[in-house]
Subunit: 351 residues, 2 copies
DNA sequence: GTTGTTTTCACAAACGATTGTGTAAAGCGC
DNA sequence: GCGCTTTACACAATCGTTTGTGAAAACAAC
């Protein structure tokens, strides 16, 4: 920067202000400076800038894990939106573990990130580390999995709607007794998918039968175990909506092992649109989570928070709810081909 | 820091040196300082430190994409190893695009990272942006996909060995005419897998027949297309080694569509151990790439480079080669169960 | 010509850590 | 107790930007 200032015969102040479009610099001076900066390919030192301004061009991201389809896609959306705004993202994985999550927060704080995007770990039942972030005045946006409370910013999927759509579809395909494999109920997302299931049953005038619900980890083994229990019942189900694709796969395979035909004897629906769901045989009906949109929306929200804060405005906290998309495949289709999406999709912002 | 210094009645110099274990500070003073720092939960400002030292605690990572199984796993390994050493990782995706890759490099340079880990994009045929990094004296480690040349640091898989193991296995299972679906040959990894295929054929005294090789993108469609061509031959193959799992899946499904039975009529082997390979029916034999090890090894190598450079030593460039693991599943097993790994695995460092 | 207003820019002090140099104090042998 | 080395610490400059303040120049109004 000093070189630029010398060459132009002005002070570093002027150069700095010209580059950041400060009002006190004349338009033709701005042009001269910017031209020369381009010529020398001058890149301001972000460390110095961050030190002085107390804020870096980094966004922190905490995800439970990076395997599977969901989080990589979300992260990709985030990276896209962030780099468009001149930010970089630093990624931490909590491994679904509270201790890791706390360490990640510390790590991001000490990396002086400008804001944090977090999807809460499954085992987290203590949220003081998040309060600490907000205490420091650092913008915080939850995505997909949020902490309880409503004075917070988040971008989530309408999981209830997803559960509702999937269950309604199974009923429409002739399901008389629809079972539900639910995820661990301490996570809001799984509670909401369960709620959607119940809403669809209620709408059809059916009761929620406890023996037709099973809660466990979203794994093939757990899904198979659930199916074994159901098939041992005197009056077993003829369809199952699983809150996760792995469980759906496990349940489906177990049903086939026991001689049932999917979808004729047992219709199956999952959740997440994992990579393997179109590949499995039969291909698995599932709910898509709009990953890319979620990532981009979360970053946009965070950047708005950062801006608002820089200008000293205060910002009403906001939750953005994305509508999921039901993807109908072979594992649930008993009644010939249907149009894949019965309703037009639109994002809804609530609050 | 000033608070600590005041409370202890010493200078900031002493506090700083005590915390960084400088020799000129007495042991009991070090202890006092460290205890107080812990008590106040003091976190040094990384921006200030980075500015002064000209080096941050950030490692840059460039991957072509984050979908699939491979890169997320590698990144996880990197994140683990980095955070153990007090570093954070910032991730960029090149989307297999040279322009993106260049921009990513710029972005990481301006983020003042301490070093860069990169897996080269498929379309990259110009490597000056990497030279620029080395020109700035910034440590650079390639993983999985490297640029040509040998005066560089890299951690790669022994792809030739993987191709060799898979092909030899298909031959051992009674394959008489083994076809090969190869990836785009401008990527070293795909050239090497092809070489392994040829080596195994040569060892068995078989010729490489041009009509039995097909090169294309690693997608289901391309795999299916290759299989269609092969099955139209007067003398079609009875086994296929694909350099990617998606192509293997597509080829397998196409063979089944045409009435063949896998593995009896057509044995199939893939590469990458994607998530769907154990789930597919039949489950797909494939080659595992030791993702986690690769990530950790790459970070370790990079940290060594950074250390060496900080001490002004020069560091002979080094390539680390990891041995892949053949995972035998249903799609290739004609001769009953075999032990899954015929040989003990050991990592080999060459050069 | 004087005063007032606006525009344009320079000075210098931050931001928070690191580090070369200088200098007391302590330890030792004689 | 002297000179010597070693140990333990403080001073102050430095990294490259940003920004509050103030001052010079340009311009308009009277």
């Amino acid at each position: 920067m000093a070189d630029l200032a010398r060459e132009l015969g002005v002070s570093m102040t002027t150069v700095s202000r010209a580059l950041s479009d400060h009002f006190s610099i004349g338009p033709e001076m701005k042009l001269k400076v910017q031209k020369l900066a381009k010529k020398y390919n001058y890149q301001p030192n972000r460390m110095a800038s961050a030190l002085r301004k107390g804020q870096s061009k980094l966004l922190g991201i905490i995800v439970p894990y990076l395997e599977g389809r969901f989080f990589p896609k979300v992260v990709r959306g985030m990276e896209t939106a962030a780099s468009r705004a001149g930010y970089n993202v630093v990624i931490c994985q909590s491994n679904e573990d509270l201790t890791h999550e706390r360490r990640n927060i510390e790590s991001l704080l000490s990396a002086q990130v400008a804001g944090i995007l977090v999807s809460v770990s499954r085992t987290t039942d203590d949220f003081r580390h998040f309060e600490k972030v907000r205490g420091r005045g650092l913008p915080l946006v939850f995505f997909d999995r949020m902490m309880p409370g409503d004075a917070l910013n988040a971008v989530v999927l309408d999981d209830r709607e997803g559960g509702y759509l999937a269950t309604r579809h199974l009923l429409a395909q002739g399901g008389r007794r629809v079972a539900h494999f639910g995820g661990l109920q301490q996570l809001t997302i799984y509670r909401n998918r369960y709620q959607g299931y119940r809403d669809a049953l209620a709408e059809a005038g059916l009761p929620v039968e406890e023996e037709l619900t099973y809660f466990g980890d979203n794994t093939e083994e757990a899904g198979a175990e659930a199916m074994r229990r159901w098939l041992a019942l005197p009056n077993p189900p003829d369809a199952v909506f699983a809150a996760g694709d792995y469980a759906a796969l496990g349940a489906m395979q177990e049903a086939e092992r026991q001689g049932l035909v999917v979808p004729t004897d047992m219709a199956v629906g999952g959740f997440s649109n994992e990579t393997f769901t179109p590949i499995a045989k039969p291909s698995i009906t599932t709910v898509d989570q709009r990953c890319d949109e979620m990532g981009q929306a979360a970053v946009r929200l965070l950047l708005e928070l950062i801006d608002a804060q820089a200008q000293g405005l205060d910002f009403a906290s906001r939750q953005l709810v994305l509508r999921p998309e039901l993807i109908i495949r072979e594992s649930s289709q008993r009644l010939g081909r249907l149009s894949p999406t019965p309703e037009p999709l639109a994002d809804a912002a609530v609050q």
